[in-house]
Symmetry: C2
Protein backbone atom coordinates (compact mmCIF):
# COMPACT_ATOMS: atom_id res chain seq x y z
CA UNK A 1 0.00 0.00 0.00
CA UNK A 2 0.96 3.61 -0.64
CA UNK A 3 0.82 6.15 2.16
CA UNK A 4 0.23 9.83 1.44
CA UNK A 5 -0.53 13.13 3.13
CA UNK A 6 -3.39 15.22 1.76
CA UNK A 7 -4.56 18.72 2.56
CA UNK A 8 -7.54 18.36 4.91
CA UNK A 9 -8.28 22.06 5.41
CA UNK A 10 -6.70 25.46 4.74
CA UNK A 11 -4.93 27.06 7.67
CA UNK A 12 -6.22 30.37 8.96
CA UNK A 13 -3.22 31.83 10.76
CA UNK A 14 -0.54 29.31 11.76
CA UNK A 15 -0.51 25.89 10.11
CA UNK A 16 -1.52 23.02 12.38
CA UNK A 17 -1.27 19.27 12.02
CA UNK A 18 -5.05 19.11 11.70
CA UNK A 19 -4.74 20.81 8.30
CA UNK A 20 -3.36 17.49 7.00
CA UNK A 21 -4.57 13.91 6.85
CA UNK A 22 -2.57 10.72 6.32
CA UNK A 23 -4.23 8.29 3.95
CA UNK A 24 -3.54 4.90 2.46
CA UNK A 25 -4.09 4.16 -1.21
CA UNK A 26 -3.03 1.50 -3.70
CA UNK A 27 0.47 1.79 -5.13
CA UNK A 28 -0.06 3.28 -8.61
CA UNK A 29 0.86 1.50 -11.86
CA UNK A 30 3.21 3.35 -14.22
CA UNK A 31 1.74 4.12 -17.63
CA UNK A 32 3.76 3.93 -20.81
CA UNK A 33 6.65 6.43 -20.54
CA UNK A 34 6.47 6.48 -16.75
CA UNK A 35 8.36 4.99 -13.84
CA UNK A 36 7.14 3.76 -10.49
CA UNK A 37 9.25 5.46 -7.82
CA UNK A 38 9.71 4.71 -4.16
CA UNK A 39 10.36 8.09 -2.56
CA UNK A 40 13.28 8.21 -0.18
CA UNK A 41 13.49 11.92 0.66
CA UNK A 42 10.86 14.62 0.68
CA UNK A 43 11.86 18.28 0.64
CA UNK A 44 10.01 20.71 2.91
CA UNK A 45 10.17 24.32 1.79
CA UNK A 46 8.64 27.63 2.82
CA UNK A 47 6.83 27.99 -0.52
CA UNK A 48 4.47 25.21 0.63
CA UNK A 49 2.76 27.67 2.93
CA UNK A 50 1.68 29.66 -0.12
CA UNK A 51 0.32 26.56 -1.84
CA UNK A 52 -2.09 25.74 0.99
CA UNK A 53 -3.27 29.32 1.39
CA UNK A 54 -6.48 30.57 -0.18
CA UNK A 55 -4.62 33.63 -1.50
CA UNK A 56 -3.46 33.70 -5.11
CA UNK A 57 0.25 33.12 -5.44
CA UNK A 58 2.73 32.42 -8.21
CA UNK A 59 1.73 28.77 -8.62
CA UNK A 60 -1.50 26.87 -8.44
CA UNK A 61 -2.49 25.90 -4.92
CA UNK A 62 -3.14 22.45 -3.50
CA UNK A 63 -6.83 21.59 -3.44
CA UNK A 64 -8.54 20.09 -0.41
CA UNK A 65 -8.09 16.27 -0.41
CA UNK A 66 -5.22 16.55 -2.89
CA UNK A 67 -1.79 15.11 -2.09
CA UNK A 68 0.53 17.83 -0.78
CA UNK A 69 3.02 19.06 -3.38
CA UNK A 70 6.71 18.65 -2.85
CA UNK A 71 9.93 17.64 -4.49
CA UNK A 72 11.23 14.15 -3.79
CA UNK A 73 14.15 11.93 -4.59
CA UNK A 74 13.61 8.22 -4.89
CA UNK A 75 14.49 4.96 -6.53
CA UNK A 76 12.95 3.51 -9.68
CA UNK A 77 11.10 0.27 -8.82
CA UNK A 78 9.58 -0.35 -12.22
CA UNK A 79 10.27 1.38 -15.53
CA UNK A 80 8.19 1.94 -18.65
CA UNK A 81 10.37 4.96 -19.45
CA UNK A 82 12.79 4.56 -22.37
CA UNK A 83 15.78 6.10 -20.57
CA UNK A 84 15.39 4.86 -17.00
CA UNK A 85 15.92 1.47 -15.43
CA UNK A 86 15.13 -0.19 -12.13
CA UNK A 87 17.46 1.08 -9.43
CA UNK A 88 18.04 4.54 -10.98
CA UNK A 89 17.84 7.42 -8.53
CA UNK A 90 15.54 10.21 -9.69
CA UNK A 91 14.32 13.67 -8.73
CA UNK A 92 10.56 14.12 -9.08
CA UNK A 93 7.61 16.25 -7.97
CA UNK A 94 5.63 13.36 -6.48
CA UNK A 95 4.72 15.19 -3.30
CA UNK A 96 4.06 13.88 0.18
CA UNK A 97 3.74 10.16 -0.48
CA UNK A 98 5.76 6.97 -0.39
CA UNK A 99 5.20 5.84 -3.97
CA UNK A 100 4.27 7.51 -7.18
CA UNK A 101 4.18 6.96 -10.94
CA UNK A 102 5.37 9.74 -13.20
CA UNK A 103 7.10 10.52 -16.45
CA UNK A 104 8.46 13.84 -15.19
CA UNK A 105 11.73 12.74 -13.71
CA UNK A 106 15.34 13.78 -13.75
CA UNK A 107 17.97 11.12 -13.19
CA UNK A 108 20.51 12.12 -10.55
CA UNK A 109 24.10 11.04 -10.05
CA UNK A 110 24.60 10.00 -6.44
CA UNK A 111 28.32 9.43 -6.95
CA UNK A 112 28.63 13.20 -7.25
CA UNK A 113 26.65 14.15 -4.14
CA UNK A 114 24.31 12.41 -1.69
CA UNK A 115 20.81 11.92 -3.11
CA UNK A 116 19.22 14.34 -0.64
CA UNK A 117 21.52 17.16 -1.77
CA UNK A 118 19.54 17.30 -5.02
CA UNK A 119 16.69 18.69 -2.94
CA UNK A 120 18.87 21.43 -1.48
CA UNK A 121 22.40 22.51 -2.16
CA UNK A 122 22.42 21.39 -5.78
CA UNK A 123 18.67 21.56 -6.28
CA UNK A 124 15.94 24.20 -6.23
CA UNK A 125 17.14 26.03 -3.09
CA UNK A 126 20.73 26.19 -4.35
CA UNK A 127 19.60 27.38 -7.76
CA UNK A 128 17.32 29.96 -6.15
CA UNK A 129 20.36 31.30 -4.33
CA UNK A 130 22.50 31.17 -7.47
CA UNK A 131 20.17 32.97 -9.88
CA UNK A 132 18.73 35.30 -7.30
CA UNK A 133 22.12 36.53 -6.19
CA UNK A 134 23.86 36.46 -9.54
CA UNK A 135 21.16 37.84 -11.81
CA UNK A 136 18.98 39.98 -9.56
CA UNK A 137 21.43 40.90 -6.80
CA UNK A 138 24.32 41.40 -9.25
CA UNK A 139 26.92 41.79 -6.50
CA UNK A 140 30.24 43.34 -7.39
CA UNK A 141 33.44 42.34 -5.60
CA UNK A 142 33.87 44.39 -2.44
CA UNK A 143 30.16 44.99 -1.99
CA UNK A 144 28.18 44.05 1.12
CA UNK A 145 25.54 41.34 0.76
CA UNK A 146 23.02 40.72 3.55
CA UNK A 147 20.82 37.62 3.57
CA UNK A 148 18.02 36.71 5.96
CA UNK A 149 17.17 33.15 7.03
CA UNK A 150 20.91 32.74 6.63
CA UNK A 151 21.14 29.24 8.04
CA UNK A 152 18.38 27.97 5.75
CA UNK A 153 18.61 26.09 2.49
CA UNK A 154 18.65 29.19 0.31
CA UNK A 155 20.27 31.68 2.67
CA UNK A 156 23.24 29.49 3.48
CA UNK A 157 24.11 29.20 -0.21
CA UNK A 158 23.55 32.92 -0.88
CA UNK A 159 26.13 33.94 1.70
CA UNK A 160 28.69 31.37 0.63
CA UNK A 161 28.32 32.40 -3.03
CA UNK A 162 28.67 36.04 -2.00
CA UNK A 163 32.00 35.17 -0.34
CA UNK A 164 33.14 33.11 -3.35
CA UNK A 165 32.31 36.09 -5.57
CA UNK A 166 34.39 38.52 -3.54
CA UNK A 167 31.76 40.17 -1.38
CA UNK A 168 31.29 40.72 2.30
CA UNK A 169 28.51 38.38 3.50
CA UNK A 170 26.35 39.22 6.50
CA UNK A 171 23.66 36.82 7.65
CA UNK A 172 20.55 37.38 9.72
CA UNK A 173 19.25 34.37 11.64
CA UNK A 174 17.31 33.51 14.79
CA UNK A 175 19.29 32.58 17.87
CA UNK A 176 22.95 32.26 18.87
CA UNK A 177 23.30 28.65 17.71
CA UNK A 178 22.27 29.39 14.12
CA UNK A 179 24.39 32.53 14.09
CA UNK A 180 27.45 30.66 15.28
CA UNK A 181 26.93 28.07 12.56
CA UNK A 182 26.52 30.71 9.84
CA UNK A 183 29.68 32.49 10.88
CA UNK A 184 31.92 29.60 11.82
CA UNK A 185 30.84 26.79 9.54
CA UNK A 186 29.51 28.71 6.54
CA UNK A 187 32.18 31.38 6.72
CA UNK A 188 30.00 34.49 6.60
CA UNK A 189 31.74 37.63 7.87
CA UNK A 190 29.07 38.04 10.52
CA UNK A 191 25.65 36.77 11.43
CA UNK A 192 23.17 38.90 13.35
CA UNK A 193 20.62 37.40 15.71
CA UNK A 194 17.31 39.13 15.06
CA UNK A 195 15.94 37.66 18.26
CA UNK A 196 18.56 39.52 20.30
CA UNK A 197 16.56 42.72 19.88
CA UNK A 198 19.13 45.23 18.62
CA UNK A 199 19.20 44.39 14.94
CA UNK A 200 19.32 48.04 13.85
CA UNK A 201 22.51 48.71 15.77
CA UNK A 202 23.99 45.34 14.91
CA UNK A 203 23.43 46.01 11.20
CA UNK A 204 25.07 49.42 11.40
CA UNK A 205 28.08 47.89 13.05
CA UNK A 206 28.35 44.88 10.73
CA UNK A 207 27.79 46.96 7.57
CA UNK A 208 29.64 50.23 8.16
CA UNK A 209 29.61 50.93 4.41
CA UNK A 210 25.88 50.19 4.08
CA UNK A 211 24.23 47.33 2.21
CA UNK A 212 24.49 46.84 -1.55
CA UNK A 213 22.47 43.66 -1.92
CA UNK A 214 19.79 42.39 0.43
CA UNK A 215 18.58 38.88 -0.34
CA UNK A 216 15.27 38.74 1.49
CA UNK A 217 13.77 35.44 2.52
CA UNK A 218 11.60 36.76 5.32
CA UNK A 219 9.90 40.10 4.60
CA UNK A 220 8.34 41.95 7.50
CA UNK A 221 10.23 44.07 9.99
CA UNK A 222 13.66 42.84 8.94
CA UNK A 223 12.96 43.91 5.37
CA UNK A 224 11.72 47.29 6.57
CA UNK A 225 14.89 47.78 8.56
CA UNK A 226 17.10 46.76 5.65
CA UNK A 227 15.34 49.28 3.40
CA UNK A 228 16.82 51.99 5.62
CA UNK A 229 20.35 50.56 5.32
CA UNK A 230 20.57 50.18 1.55
CA UNK A 231 23.19 52.07 -0.40
CA UNK A 232 22.56 54.17 -3.48
CA UNK A 233 21.58 51.84 -6.35
CA UNK A 234 21.27 48.90 -3.95
CA UNK A 235 19.35 45.77 -4.97
CA UNK A 236 16.81 43.77 -3.00
CA UNK A 237 16.00 40.23 -4.08
CA UNK A 238 12.48 39.42 -2.88
CA UNK A 239 12.64 35.66 -2.49
CA UNK A 240 10.29 34.94 0.39
CA UNK A 241 8.07 36.50 3.00
CA UNK A 242 8.16 33.75 5.59
CA UNK A 243 7.60 36.17 8.48
CA UNK A 244 4.19 36.83 6.98
CA UNK A 245 3.03 33.39 5.95
CA UNK A 246 1.08 32.65 9.06
CA UNK A 247 -0.41 36.10 9.37
CA UNK A 248 -3.94 36.81 8.29
CA UNK A 249 -3.02 40.46 7.88
CA UNK A 250 0.12 41.08 5.82
CA UNK A 251 2.95 43.18 7.21
CA UNK A 252 2.84 46.73 5.93
CA UNK A 253 6.11 48.14 4.64
CA UNK A 254 6.94 51.53 6.05
CA UNK A 255 10.11 52.50 4.21
CA UNK A 256 8.95 52.31 0.59
CA UNK A 257 10.30 55.81 -0.04
CA UNK A 258 13.84 54.45 0.38
CA UNK A 259 13.37 52.96 -3.11
CA UNK A 260 13.16 56.48 -4.51
CA UNK A 261 15.70 58.14 -2.25
CA UNK A 262 18.40 55.56 -2.98
CA UNK A 263 17.18 54.44 -6.42
CA UNK A 264 16.94 50.86 -5.28
CA UNK A 265 16.03 48.02 -7.60
CA UNK A 266 13.67 45.49 -6.06
CA UNK A 267 12.83 42.27 -7.88
CA UNK A 268 10.86 39.14 -7.16
CA UNK A 269 12.72 35.82 -7.48
CA UNK A 270 11.15 32.48 -8.38
CA UNK A 271 13.53 29.79 -9.56
CA UNK A 272 11.17 28.42 -12.24
CA UNK A 273 11.78 31.57 -14.28
CA UNK A 274 15.35 30.37 -14.79
CA UNK A 275 14.64 26.84 -15.92
CA UNK A 276 16.38 27.34 -19.25
CA UNK A 277 19.59 27.85 -17.30
CA UNK A 278 19.29 25.17 -14.60
CA UNK A 279 22.22 23.31 -16.16
CA UNK A 280 24.52 26.28 -15.64
CA UNK A 281 23.56 26.57 -11.97
CA UNK A 282 23.86 22.87 -11.24
CA UNK A 283 27.27 22.79 -12.86
CA UNK A 284 28.48 25.78 -10.85
CA UNK A 285 27.04 24.57 -7.53
CA UNK A 286 28.20 20.99 -8.10
CA UNK A 287 31.66 22.30 -8.95
CA UNK A 288 31.93 24.44 -5.81
CA UNK A 289 30.70 21.50 -3.73
CA UNK A 290 33.21 19.11 -5.29
CA UNK A 291 35.97 21.61 -4.49
CA UNK A 292 34.85 21.71 -0.86
CA UNK A 293 33.81 25.34 -1.14
CA UNK A 294 30.17 24.96 -0.12
CA UNK A 295 29.20 23.88 3.37
CA UNK A 296 25.74 22.53 3.99
CA UNK A 297 23.56 21.16 6.76
CA UNK A 298 20.36 19.13 6.70
CA UNK A 299 17.60 18.91 9.27
CA UNK A 300 15.86 15.55 9.01
CA UNK A 301 12.41 14.46 10.18
CA UNK A 302 11.81 10.71 10.22
CA UNK A 303 8.74 9.30 8.50
CA UNK A 304 6.03 10.65 6.21
CA UNK A 305 3.48 11.01 9.02
CA UNK A 306 5.80 13.58 10.63
CA UNK A 307 5.99 15.77 7.54
CA UNK A 308 3.25 18.16 8.78
CA UNK A 309 5.17 18.73 12.02
CA UNK A 310 8.35 19.25 9.97
CA UNK A 311 6.66 21.94 7.87
CA UNK A 312 5.27 23.65 10.96
CA UNK A 313 8.74 23.71 12.52
CA UNK A 314 10.24 25.05 9.29
CA UNK A 315 7.70 27.87 9.12
CA UNK A 316 8.40 28.66 12.75
CA UNK A 317 12.16 28.79 12.17
CA UNK A 318 12.76 25.80 14.43
CA UNK A 319 14.68 23.88 11.73
CA UNK A 320 18.38 24.22 11.13
CA UNK A 321 19.60 24.00 7.56
CA UNK A 322 17.75 22.32 4.73
CA UNK A 323 14.57 20.66 6.01
CA UNK A 324 13.95 17.09 4.77
CA UNK A 325 11.70 14.17 5.56
CA UNK A 326 13.37 10.76 5.41
CA UNK A 327 10.82 8.38 3.97
CA UNK A 328 12.88 5.24 3.37
Amino acid sequence: MNKRVVLASRPVGPVSESNFRVEEAPVPKPADGEVLVRNLWLSLDPYMRGRISAAKSYAKGVEIDEVMVGQTVGEVLESRHPKLKVGDMVLTQLGWQLYGATGEVMKIDTSRAPASYYLGLIGMPGMTAYFGLKELGQPKPGETVVVSAASGAVGSVVGQLAKLWGCKAIGVAGGPEKCAYVKQELGFDACLDYKAGNLREALKEACPKGVDVYFDNVGGEILDLLLTRMNLFGRIVVCGTISDYDSTDPYKVRNWRAILVNRLRIQGMIVFDWKDRYGEALKALGGYFAEGKLNYRESVVQGLENAPRGLIDLLGGRNFGKQLVKLG
Copy 2:
Protein backbone atom coordinates in the same frame (compact mmCIF):
# COMPACT_ATOMS: atom_id res chain seq x y z
CA MET B 1 17.11 95.46 -5.10
CA ASN B 2 16.78 91.70 -5.35
CA LYS B 3 13.77 89.93 -3.82
CA ARG B 4 13.98 86.34 -2.62
CA VAL B 5 12.07 83.71 -0.69
CA VAL B 6 13.90 81.89 2.08
CA LEU B 7 12.91 78.93 4.24
CA ALA B 8 11.72 80.33 7.58
CA SER B 9 10.84 77.04 9.27
CA ARG B 10 10.39 73.37 8.41
CA PRO B 11 6.81 72.22 7.93
CA VAL B 12 5.46 69.57 10.25
CA GLY B 13 2.60 68.07 8.27
CA PRO B 14 1.22 70.27 5.47
CA VAL B 15 3.35 73.15 4.20
CA SER B 16 2.06 76.60 5.09
CA GLU B 17 2.96 80.06 3.88
CA SER B 18 4.48 80.78 7.27
CA ASN B 19 7.26 78.31 6.45
CA PHE B 20 8.61 80.94 4.04
CA ARG B 21 9.76 84.55 4.29
CA VAL B 22 10.15 87.11 1.53
CA GLU B 23 13.32 89.17 1.85
CA GLU B 24 15.08 91.93 0.01
CA ALA B 25 18.81 91.90 -0.66
CA PRO B 26 21.24 93.67 -2.95
CA VAL B 27 21.43 92.47 -6.54
CA PRO B 28 24.60 90.34 -6.66
CA LYS B 29 27.62 91.11 -8.83
CA PRO B 30 28.76 88.41 -11.24
CA ALA B 31 32.28 87.12 -10.63
CA ASP B 32 34.63 86.20 -13.43
CA GLY B 33 33.03 83.39 -15.48
CA GLU B 34 29.57 84.26 -14.22
CA VAL B 35 26.51 86.04 -15.55
CA LEU B 36 23.96 88.19 -13.77
CA VAL B 37 20.53 86.83 -14.60
CA ARG B 38 17.09 88.33 -14.21
CA ASN B 39 14.81 85.36 -13.58
CA LEU B 40 11.62 85.29 -15.63
CA TRP B 41 10.16 81.90 -14.73
CA LEU B 42 10.51 79.76 -11.63
CA SER B 43 9.60 76.10 -11.72
CA LEU B 44 7.65 74.61 -8.80
CA ASP B 45 8.02 70.87 -8.40
CA PRO B 46 6.95 68.20 -5.91
CA TYR B 47 10.58 67.40 -5.05
CA MET B 48 10.74 70.72 -3.20
CA ARG B 49 8.70 69.20 -0.39
CA GLY B 50 11.55 66.77 0.25
CA ARG B 51 14.12 69.57 0.32
CA ILE B 52 12.40 71.40 3.15
CA SER B 53 11.77 68.29 5.21
CA ALA B 54 14.03 67.27 8.07
CA ALA B 55 14.15 63.70 6.67
CA LYS B 56 17.15 62.61 4.62
CA SER B 57 16.36 62.45 0.92
CA TYR B 58 18.27 62.05 -2.30
CA ALA B 59 19.58 65.61 -2.32
CA LYS B 60 20.78 68.03 0.29
CA GLY B 61 17.99 69.94 1.96
CA VAL B 62 17.47 73.70 2.14
CA GLU B 63 18.74 75.18 5.39
CA ILE B 64 16.70 77.61 7.46
CA ASP B 65 17.23 81.19 6.13
CA GLU B 66 18.58 79.84 2.85
CA VAL B 67 17.01 80.81 -0.47
CA MET B 68 14.57 78.11 -1.63
CA VAL B 69 15.99 75.91 -4.38
CA GLY B 70 14.41 75.79 -7.78
CA GLN B 71 15.09 75.83 -11.46
CA THR B 72 14.63 79.10 -13.30
CA VAL B 73 14.86 80.55 -16.76
CA GLY B 74 15.93 84.10 -17.22
CA GLU B 75 17.74 86.70 -19.26
CA VAL B 76 21.41 87.63 -19.03
CA LEU B 77 21.74 91.24 -17.82
CA GLU B 78 25.50 91.29 -17.50
CA SER B 79 28.08 88.77 -18.64
CA ARG B 80 31.55 87.86 -17.43
CA HIS B 81 31.10 84.41 -18.97
CA PRO B 82 33.14 83.69 -22.13
CA LYS B 83 30.24 82.14 -24.06
CA LEU B 84 27.25 84.21 -23.00
CA LYS B 85 26.20 87.73 -23.86
CA VAL B 86 23.64 90.21 -22.60
CA GLY B 87 20.15 89.21 -23.75
CA ASP B 88 20.83 85.48 -23.89
CA MET B 89 18.11 83.30 -22.35
CA VAL B 90 19.45 80.77 -19.87
CA LEU B 91 18.35 77.90 -17.67
CA THR B 92 19.79 78.02 -14.13
CA GLN B 93 19.32 76.77 -10.59
CA LEU B 94 19.05 80.20 -9.01
CA GLY B 95 16.06 79.35 -6.86
CA TRP B 96 13.25 81.53 -5.59
CA GLN B 97 14.60 84.98 -6.35
CA LEU B 98 14.44 87.71 -8.96
CA TYR B 99 18.14 88.06 -9.68
CA GLY B 100 21.18 85.87 -9.31
CA ALA B 101 24.78 85.54 -10.39
CA THR B 102 26.04 82.16 -11.46
CA GLY B 103 28.40 80.34 -13.79
CA GLU B 104 26.21 77.24 -13.92
CA VAL B 105 23.97 78.07 -16.81
CA MET B 106 22.69 76.44 -19.95
CA LYS B 107 21.80 78.67 -22.88
CA ILE B 108 18.37 77.90 -24.29
CA ASP B 109 16.94 78.41 -27.77
CA THR B 110 13.60 80.16 -27.47
CA SER B 111 12.99 79.95 -31.21
CA ARG B 112 12.50 76.22 -30.71
CA ALA B 113 10.07 76.38 -27.80
CA PRO B 114 8.83 79.02 -25.34
CA ALA B 115 11.36 79.76 -22.58
CA SER B 116 9.14 78.30 -19.87
CA TYR B 117 8.99 74.92 -21.65
CA TYR B 118 12.63 74.38 -20.66
CA LEU B 119 11.34 74.02 -17.11
CA GLY B 120 8.83 71.37 -18.09
CA LEU B 121 8.15 69.58 -21.32
CA ILE B 122 11.71 69.78 -22.59
CA GLY B 123 13.34 70.15 -19.18
CA MET B 124 13.67 68.12 -16.01
CA PRO B 125 10.06 66.87 -15.84
CA GLY B 126 10.05 65.81 -19.49
CA MET B 127 13.39 64.07 -19.08
CA THR B 128 12.16 62.37 -15.92
CA ALA B 129 9.27 60.98 -17.93
CA TYR B 130 11.54 60.00 -20.82
CA PHE B 131 14.22 58.12 -18.89
CA GLY B 132 11.86 56.72 -16.29
CA LEU B 133 9.54 55.24 -18.86
CA LYS B 134 12.13 54.22 -21.42
CA GLU B 135 14.87 52.83 -19.21
CA LEU B 136 13.08 51.68 -16.05
CA GLY B 137 9.58 51.02 -17.36
CA GLN B 138 10.86 49.48 -20.60
CA PRO B 139 7.41 49.31 -22.19
CA LYS B 140 6.91 47.05 -25.17
CA PRO B 141 4.39 47.87 -27.89
CA GLY B 142 0.95 46.60 -26.97
CA GLU B 143 1.60 46.76 -23.23
CA THR B 144 -0.50 48.73 -20.77
CA VAL B 145 1.14 51.69 -19.02
CA VAL B 146 -0.55 53.38 -16.06
CA VAL B 147 0.67 56.72 -14.72
CA SER B 148 -0.53 58.63 -11.68
CA ALA B 149 -0.64 62.42 -11.42
CA ALA B 150 -1.37 62.07 -15.13
CA SER B 151 -2.16 65.73 -15.77
CA GLY B 152 1.06 66.87 -14.13
CA ALA B 153 4.37 67.89 -15.68
CA VAL B 154 5.86 64.40 -15.57
CA GLY B 155 2.72 62.26 -15.86
CA SER B 156 1.38 64.05 -18.92
CA VAL B 157 4.61 63.32 -20.81
CA VAL B 158 4.77 59.69 -19.60
CA GLY B 159 1.37 58.87 -21.06
CA GLN B 160 2.00 60.65 -24.33
CA LEU B 161 5.34 58.88 -24.76
CA ALA B 162 3.65 55.57 -23.96
CA LYS B 163 1.20 56.22 -26.79
CA LEU B 164 3.98 57.28 -29.16
CA TRP B 165 5.81 54.06 -28.31
CA GLY B 166 2.83 51.85 -29.13
CA CYS B 167 1.38 51.23 -25.68
CA LYS B 168 -2.01 51.65 -24.11
CA ALA B 169 -1.84 54.65 -21.74
CA ILE B 170 -4.10 54.92 -18.71
CA GLY B 171 -3.91 57.95 -16.45
CA VAL B 172 -4.96 58.43 -12.85
CA ALA B 173 -5.80 62.00 -11.82
CA GLY B 174 -7.98 63.89 -9.37
CA GLY B 175 -11.34 65.18 -10.59
CA PRO B 176 -13.35 65.08 -13.82
CA GLU B 177 -11.76 68.20 -15.30
CA LYS B 178 -8.22 66.82 -15.14
CA CYS B 179 -9.39 63.44 -16.38
CA ALA B 180 -11.16 64.98 -19.37
CA TYR B 181 -8.00 66.92 -20.23
CA VAL B 182 -5.81 63.82 -19.97
CA LYS B 183 -8.07 61.80 -22.21
CA GLN B 184 -9.15 64.42 -24.73
CA GLU B 185 -6.19 66.76 -24.99
CA LEU B 186 -3.32 64.45 -24.11
CA GLY B 187 -4.78 61.46 -25.94
CA PHE B 188 -4.54 58.84 -23.20
CA ASP B 189 -6.81 55.84 -23.74
CA ALA B 190 -8.51 56.53 -20.43
CA CYS B 191 -8.05 58.57 -17.28
CA LEU B 192 -9.42 57.38 -13.95
CA ASP B 193 -10.56 59.82 -11.28
CA TYR B 194 -9.21 58.59 -7.96
CA LYS B 195 -11.51 60.99 -6.15
CA ALA B 196 -14.56 59.23 -7.61
CA GLY B 197 -14.09 56.43 -5.10
CA ASN B 198 -14.16 53.28 -7.24
CA LEU B 199 -10.61 53.19 -8.53
CA ARG B 200 -10.25 49.44 -8.07
CA GLU B 201 -13.18 48.68 -10.37
CA ALA B 202 -12.26 51.45 -12.79
CA LEU B 203 -8.73 50.04 -13.11
CA LYS B 204 -10.01 46.54 -13.79
CA GLU B 205 -12.24 47.88 -16.50
CA ALA B 206 -9.65 50.16 -18.10
CA CYS B 207 -6.90 47.52 -17.95
CA PRO B 208 -8.59 44.21 -18.74
CA LYS B 209 -5.20 42.66 -19.57
CA GLY B 210 -3.59 43.94 -16.36
CA VAL B 211 -0.83 46.52 -16.01
CA ASP B 212 2.68 46.06 -17.39
CA VAL B 213 4.22 49.37 -16.35
CA TYR B 214 3.10 51.60 -13.51
CA PHE B 215 4.81 54.98 -13.41
CA ASP B 216 4.16 56.10 -9.86
CA ASN B 217 4.23 59.77 -8.95
CA VAL B 218 2.09 59.53 -5.85
CA GLY B 219 2.72 56.45 -3.68
CA GLY B 220 0.19 55.63 -0.99
CA GLU B 221 -3.09 53.86 -1.57
CA ILE B 222 -2.98 54.21 -5.35
CA LEU B 223 0.39 52.46 -5.42
CA ASP B 224 -0.92 49.73 -3.14
CA LEU B 225 -3.87 49.18 -5.43
CA LEU B 226 -1.67 49.09 -8.53
CA LEU B 227 0.56 46.46 -6.91
CA THR B 228 -2.44 44.13 -7.05
CA ARG B 229 -3.05 44.83 -10.77
CA MET B 230 0.47 44.26 -12.10
CA ASN B 231 1.11 41.53 -14.63
CA LEU B 232 3.82 38.93 -14.39
CA PHE B 233 7.22 40.64 -14.81
CA GLY B 234 5.59 44.07 -14.56
CA ARG B 235 7.68 47.16 -13.78
CA ILE B 236 6.99 49.98 -11.34
CA VAL B 237 8.87 53.26 -11.71
CA VAL B 238 9.01 54.92 -8.28
CA CYS B 239 9.23 58.57 -9.21
CA GLY B 240 7.41 60.35 -6.40
CA THR B 241 5.41 59.84 -3.25
CA ILE B 242 3.44 63.07 -3.27
CA SER B 243 0.50 61.54 -1.38
CA ASP B 244 2.87 61.13 1.52
CA TYR B 245 4.79 64.37 1.52
CA ASP B 246 2.62 66.16 4.02
CA SER B 247 2.22 63.18 6.30
CA THR B 248 4.23 62.86 9.49
CA ASP B 249 3.68 59.10 9.36
CA PRO B 250 4.50 57.49 6.01
CA TYR B 251 1.96 55.32 4.25
CA LYS B 252 2.59 51.62 4.83
CA VAL B 253 2.50 49.42 1.76
CA ARG B 254 0.36 46.36 2.18
CA ASN B 255 0.90 44.46 -1.05
CA TRP B 256 4.68 43.99 -1.01
CA ARG B 257 4.24 40.27 -1.61
CA ALA B 258 2.95 41.05 -5.12
CA ILE B 259 6.60 41.75 -6.00
CA LEU B 260 7.38 38.09 -5.35
CA VAL B 261 4.17 36.60 -6.71
CA ASN B 262 4.44 38.43 -10.04
CA ARG B 263 8.23 38.89 -10.13
CA LEU B 264 7.87 42.63 -10.42
CA ARG B 265 10.79 44.97 -10.88
CA ILE B 266 10.54 48.15 -8.83
CA GLN B 267 13.07 50.96 -9.31
CA GLY B 268 13.57 54.44 -8.01
CA MET B 269 13.84 57.23 -10.60
CA ILE B 270 15.75 60.48 -10.18
CA VAL B 271 16.57 62.37 -13.34
CA PHE B 272 20.06 63.45 -12.20
CA ASP B 273 21.22 59.85 -12.60
CA TRP B 274 20.78 60.27 -16.34
CA LYS B 275 22.68 63.50 -16.80
CA ASP B 276 25.13 61.94 -19.24
CA ARG B 277 22.20 61.37 -21.58
CA TYR B 278 20.25 64.61 -21.20
CA GLY B 279 21.10 65.53 -24.79
CA GLU B 280 19.37 62.40 -26.10
CA ALA B 281 16.20 63.15 -24.14
CA LEU B 282 16.09 66.82 -25.08
CA LYS B 283 16.51 65.93 -28.73
CA ALA B 284 13.74 63.33 -28.60
CA LEU B 285 11.32 65.52 -26.63
CA GLY B 286 12.10 68.60 -28.72
CA GLY B 287 11.56 66.54 -31.86
CA TYR B 288 8.18 65.21 -30.75
CA PHE B 289 7.15 68.72 -29.71
CA ALA B 290 8.21 70.20 -33.07
CA GLU B 291 6.16 67.53 -34.83
CA GLY B 292 3.11 68.48 -32.77
CA LYS B 293 3.06 65.13 -31.00
CA LEU B 294 3.32 66.36 -27.42
CA ASN B 295 0.57 68.36 -25.83
CA TYR B 296 1.33 70.41 -22.75
CA ARG B 297 -0.32 72.75 -20.28
CA GLU B 298 1.09 75.24 -17.79
CA SER B 299 -0.38 76.53 -14.56
CA VAL B 300 0.99 79.98 -13.81
CA VAL B 301 1.17 81.88 -10.52
CA GLN B 302 1.98 85.59 -10.83
CA GLY B 303 4.82 87.06 -8.76
CA LEU B 304 7.55 85.68 -6.54
CA GLU B 305 5.67 86.45 -3.32
CA ASN B 306 2.99 83.97 -4.43
CA ALA B 307 5.46 81.12 -4.94
CA PRO B 308 4.74 79.59 -1.48
CA ARG B 309 1.02 79.48 -2.27
CA GLY B 310 1.83 77.93 -5.67
CA LEU B 311 3.88 75.18 -4.03
CA ILE B 312 1.13 74.50 -1.49
CA ASP B 313 -1.44 74.21 -4.29
CA LEU B 314 0.86 71.92 -6.25
CA LEU B 315 1.34 69.61 -3.27
CA GLY B 316 -2.43 69.59 -2.76
CA GLY B 317 -3.10 68.68 -6.38
CA ARG B 318 -4.84 71.99 -7.03
CA ASN B 319 -2.60 72.85 -9.99
CA PHE B 320 -3.28 71.74 -13.54
CA GLY B 321 -0.31 70.89 -15.71
CA LYS B 322 3.21 72.17 -15.15
CA GLN B 323 3.32 74.62 -12.22
CA LEU B 324 5.28 77.83 -12.82
CA VAL B 325 5.76 81.21 -11.18
CA LYS B 326 5.97 84.14 -13.58
CA LEU B 327 8.53 86.53 -12.16
CA GLY B 328 8.93 89.00 -15.01
